[in-house]
Amino acid sequence: MRRRRALSAVSAAVLTVAVAGASAAAQDAPSEPTLLTGGASPELDQMEPVQTSGETVTAASAPDEAVAYLADTIYALGYDAGYAGQVLQPEKRAIDLYWKGELPSDVEELISGDPYGVQVNVDTTAEFTREEAMAAATAAVETSELDDLQITTASVKPDGTGIVVSLTDDAPAGPSAAAREIAAATDVEADAVTVKEDVGDIFVPTVDRRSNDSAPYKGGGRIYVDGRNACSTAFSALDGGAGRLLSAAHCVTAENTNKTVQDGGGTRIAQGDAVKRRKSIDSMSIDPTTSPASKGRIFVSGWNSDSTREVVGWGSNHTGQKVCAGGATTGHHCGNIIDDAVTASGLNGAFYVVARATTGAFQGGADSGGPVYEVLDSGNIRAKGVVYAGTLPSTTACGTHNPDVDPTCHRDLVYVPISVVLSTWGYTLDLG
């Protein structure tokens, strides 16, 4: 979602984006590290696995991916245990890690010995955890008593020393006075508040990510129907030359008479007749209002990832093959096909596919409609299907997931072959 914002109601996404902009050293760093959940990232299968707290992780062959992957893992392990921030330096194969208090043992274990050849420089003197700083930044832009300051954005410093607040060029208060007012309204001291003046009434660029994509829309992103039913997008397809987003028909329920589909930030993607369903194969086609509407890429990695990969084709499904799925609730997981031709009551045909996760969950609630795919050696994506359901007997713990829903998760995933979806609609796959 991209939108012009002023003064208030700055979302967490905006806040985190502003972090990267606040530090020149962090320009290449993810403002909020991507979470990796469950199975390892597909492109990370090249290197030797590392054991962390009983979970096997692997690193990327490319330096930037190794650094990003390690950062993801550090964040996943410590985001609620003193994590303050990190600045990634892919070119130096290094990470500057900031922590409040002692490192948890699992993080300590992970970073010992320069894993994947990445050097992690640790500073445990951070004054604020990322969570604390985010709370302060949110309070700064949402507290009505501070409206007069004309705050445009607030962000957290990656080194855990405080927050950065930007004011419009018409702001009446000077930096010192503004910092004091902000400190009084938040849980930070005035010296932890850096105030930037005269930034204007800005257009805030946000980073598209699974949890909140924007046009042109990609696969693997979050959607809501009528602001309530949570689901995921699968792939971009072409109806002639017009872009469509594919998802699952059962995302729309009986009470959704308007069929309003929104992205993760609440921006309306399409509604009414622009949202079509083929219930016989549980498929939904969304015709976004925007143009360009969609893009031949999908999100990969964790539930809040901003990493995308190019979709280069589609393939059939055979028993034994490795496949991955990446819905907007639980993110990327992989496993193997255990049945490549089954029926499902209420749906037509005997071509549905069942796959089982290598470990943990393959799918969770609101991953419905998400992409099933194969990751090629090139790192590109071959489309394989659209997430339909999980099997109840395989219910398992979800692991890290998008907190916008409270899902039930399953080790066994059932999906609709992409070939069936495309042929039923008469679409071609939108290739990146």
């Binding site: 329920t253 309306r268 209002t289 925007t290 031709a341 037509n348 059932v414 072959p417």
Partner: protein, 229 residues
């Protein structure tokens, strides 16, 4: 919403039939499967022809390629092109060991056989010609069974088509196994012999529930944008 479906990996329940299967398939041989009588054996022996019409409709819906073909994709599609698709039963892929096992009902044309023996793309291709049924036949049978009354009567959840072409998998929601009469009825509906039905109980339902967004208070955009293009 919770609808019915399959759960794989359950213990198969033996059907009441006598005798042995005419072939063994290690890839997905149902546990506890026993046999049919002489009449069934005779029917099975006569079952050699493949159904090209059913095959074309079934395969065209589920097989395809695009972009950066890899070894497995190249091999499976070449085999389908060179072989008789109407007699194709399925593939089982062992990526770790670089092996593709292909199951066929009846013989494989010489060009396909030669291709399989050539270790194409560096893969070992195992050809198994002992499939009792083609994939097209079983898919059609599965669809008939799903639509039949007996499917509901026995508590059917899902029907699966094994890649080895050995018969049908039938998952039931409950502990009750079908009676002999019901098994006979299933065989009549599907054309699949009783010995080739692999029945599993306690399959459980499929979870297609859609969770509600927890925080619905934030700034959802309620404006209706103008269509740009």
């Amino acid at each position: 919403m919770r609808t019915k479906l399959v759960f794989a990996g359950l213990v198969a329940v033996a059907l009441a039939a006598a005798g042995g299967a005419s072939f063994a398939n290690e890839a997905s041989s149902p546990q506890g499967r026993t046999s049919a009588g002489t009449a069934d054996k005779n029917q099975a022996a006569e079952r050699t022809a493949c159904d090209p019409v059913a095959a074309s409709s079934a395969l065209s819906a589920t097989d395809g390629v695009g972009g950066e073909p890899d070894a497995v994709q190249t091999v499976t599609h070449t085999l389908l092109e060179l072989g008789n698709e109407a007699c194709f039963a399925g593939f089982v892929i062992d990526e770790q060991n670089g092996q593709v096992t292909s199951y066929w009902k009846g013989d494989l044309p010489a060009p396909a056989r030669a291709y399989a023996e050539s270790q194409p793309e560096g893969l070992e291709v195992v050809v198994n010609l002992k499939a009792r049924y083609s994939r097209a036949e079983l898919r059609a049978a599965a669809a008939r069974l799903q639509a039949a009354n007996v499917f509901d009567t026995v508590g059917g959840v899902s029907v699966g088509v094994p890649s080895d072409g050995s018969g049908l998998k039938l998952w039931l929601n409950g502990e009750q196994t079908p009676s002999e009469t019901q098994v006979r009825e299933i065989s009549e509906v599907t054309g699949v012999l009783g010995i080739d039905l692999n029945i599993a109980t306690d399959a459980g339902d499929l979870d297609t529930s859609i969770p509600q967004r927890i925080d619905q208070s934030s700034d959802l955009d309620t404006t209706i944008p103008e269509r740009i293009g």
